[in-house]
Symmetry: C2
Subunit: 372 residues, 2 copies
């Protein structure tokens, strides 16, 4: 079945909203943070561990899975859920972002049909089109598929961005027409960069195509400022229907998640919690903590005393520091568990605050402590 | 308290024996396989996962922990058990093997006092002595400490080996005199290379020093043949007391474990299950399986249908192959779980066979299938 969003509570003092998302694999509360499993695994973690963190939707990546192991292999496994052993909802991105970001320093050719580019694995020439992206996602059998969009750099000028927004709309229509999986929902993506009228135009026209949900893209590219991101949300949100979920793509800094929630976003994803974990860093209420720091050498307390994650219940900063400094993979794994749980818990607390019309206060207090 | 070995059943058709090892952290059956946690973690795994595999004693490495994070840090944590969150028994090796193997291609100077060598991390000049090795192990507070021994190469001639065996005996005595941890047992190590009379001499003289257990060393160096290893056991075992555990150091190939058990060995350790896992390989009853093999691309069955490990209960060969081929750490983690459980289960099955006086038959059938 298609997902169904239900708005349960609108915060009195902001656009923040509390709701539920009914999926093929259960009903989950929003706002939610979605861990990223690019290659059909959230790096170093099992899906049982994700469920222990109270995960809901998780992501997988169309571009990467298309190249390896291929959508055919995953279809023969019975779809992504069976392949990666996850009985929760899965969202696949369209591959659009990867085509543009992985091919960043390489030649790529954007034409009306799609994007010609070279595989980041072996340099093989490839063409990804809106139809092919949807066909791959149909076969992956995720619960939510994303439209194939162009992701221009933050520095793109108005003329480029206007043409790009129009092409993305034509691609969205083509993808929707090609979509053929009744149990899979399809989201449209609002683009338009930093230009208010282009964001409005993109939102209005995308909504006319009637998707199951809407995401705001082009906010997590290199070179965008936080203000650009917040403006992009502000410019787009007013034109999105209240009865559909809104997804801010690629955003996972705690402060940005709260800024997004305040503006009416329901869903977030980001590789940040696992990426900073691999570099020895942890999210904490007092900002990021670098476990490599010498001061943790004999700190036999958890990363956060009041954290309910597996890592904080079983391991100390001194031990994790030892693992990280020694290059032991278990260090990054333990930090990934903490960091993902940190973001999921942040959204859980945000939901409680919204229910009490206390979100703005909650957000300000969190940011004050986090950035102090 | 010191460990206590109890011999419960002597196989009628071989030297294989079934017994129990009482430790500070429970009583466990032998023969046993001991997973190796060099840097106070079995690579990629939590201690809860090790317990799920029915682990008993696990290893940690004196040399590595001395350099990082230091025995002082671990002592301040409350010892190795608290530091790494393992409430099962821990054995620490002496550092002797590492001094010789890691410094293999570097200058080292073996003198009566100990071994002068350079750190493999930063080239710092270090001196490890029998007393220092024991002092470090006392502070690590493992349940079983090992004597500091010289580990000559397999190619050493008789004269070198004779002098080395005598030095190792003097070092064993010095280490025993320096040992000061009442809850920690201390094992002596039999050396002597491929020479029958030196193995006998080493065993007889080591036993005179009255250790809590005995290990057979110098069997897992580079360049030793399997026959050399089996002979080394045969030459040593007759002189070891029946009421003390016998530990074959560094051996973890399934066939070698069974050959060791047949000859009267109670304890085994090896990095093999985690090392081959990192390279995409699994132990199976039909020999090693390379998951990178193209034939597993769409094999949606577990590594072994009848395996009770977490990996085989949740994941398919096709998925693990995808992870391994894509360089995802989770692949090595899932294979490590399977491989360690495989060796632990092998010893469990060996124990059942010994109880029924059926060990030789069990061994022959296993080897026939494994090497076919």
């Amino acid at each position: 079945m298609k997902i169904k969003y239900t708005l349960l509570k609108q915060d009195k003092n902001s656009n923040a909203r509390y709701g539920t998302l009914k999926t093929n694999y259960g009903t989950y509360e929003t706002p939610m943070f979605m861990p990223v499993g690019t290659l059909a695994n959230v790096k170093t973690l099992t899906t049982d561990e994700l469920k222990d963190m109270n995960s809901a939707v998780i992501l997988a990546n169309t571009y990467h899975l298309w190249l390896r192991p291929s959508e055919e292999v995953i279809a023969h496994a019975g779809g992504l859920h069976a392949f990666m052993n996850y009985d929760g909802p899965i969202l696949t991105d369209s591959g659009g972002f990867q085509v543009f970001s992985l091919a960043k320093n390489k030649k790529k050719d954007i034409v009306e049909e799609g994007v010609h580019f070279k595989s980041h694995l072996d340099g093989r020439k490839l063409l990804l089109t809106p139809e092919l992206s949807i066909q791959i996602q149909n076969k992956l059998d995720s619960d939510i598929a994303m439209s194939f969009d162009e992701c221009p750099p933050a520095s793109a000028d108005y003329t480029y961005m206007e043409n790009s927004v129009k092409r993305t709309l034509r691609w969205a229509k083509r993808g929707k027409d090609a979509h053929q999986n009744e149990r899979q929902s399809l989201f449209g993506i609002v683009q338009g960069g930093v230009f208010e009228d282009l964001r409005r135009y993109s939102a209005l026209e995308t909504v006319k195509l009637d998707f199951d949900g809407y995401s705001i893209g082009g906010v997590a590219n290199d070179g965008e400022s936080k203000e650009d991101m917040y403006h992009a949300i502000d410019y787009s949100i007013p034109y999105l229907p209240k009865d559909k979920p809104r997804y801010l793509m690629g955003v996972g800094e705690p402060v940005d998640i709260l800024e997004g929630i305040e503006r009416g976003i329901d869903m977030f994803d980001c590789v940040l919690p696992t990426r900073i974990a691999r570099h020895g860093n942890a999210f904490t209420k007092n900002g990021r903590m670098n476990l490599k720091n010498l001061k943790f050498k004999e700190d036999f307390t958890p990363i956060e005393e009041d954290c309910d994650c597996y890592t904080c219940k079983h391991y100390t900063k001194a031990y994790i520091r030892h693992l990280v400094v020694s290059g032991e993979t278990l260090g990054g794994r333990l930090l990934s568990i903490h960091n993902i749980r940190f973001l999921i818990r942040l959204t859980e607390e945000a939901r409680e605050a919204i229910k009490k019309d206390n979100f703005v206060n909650f957000k300000e207090k969190f940011i004050e402590q986090y950035t102090k």
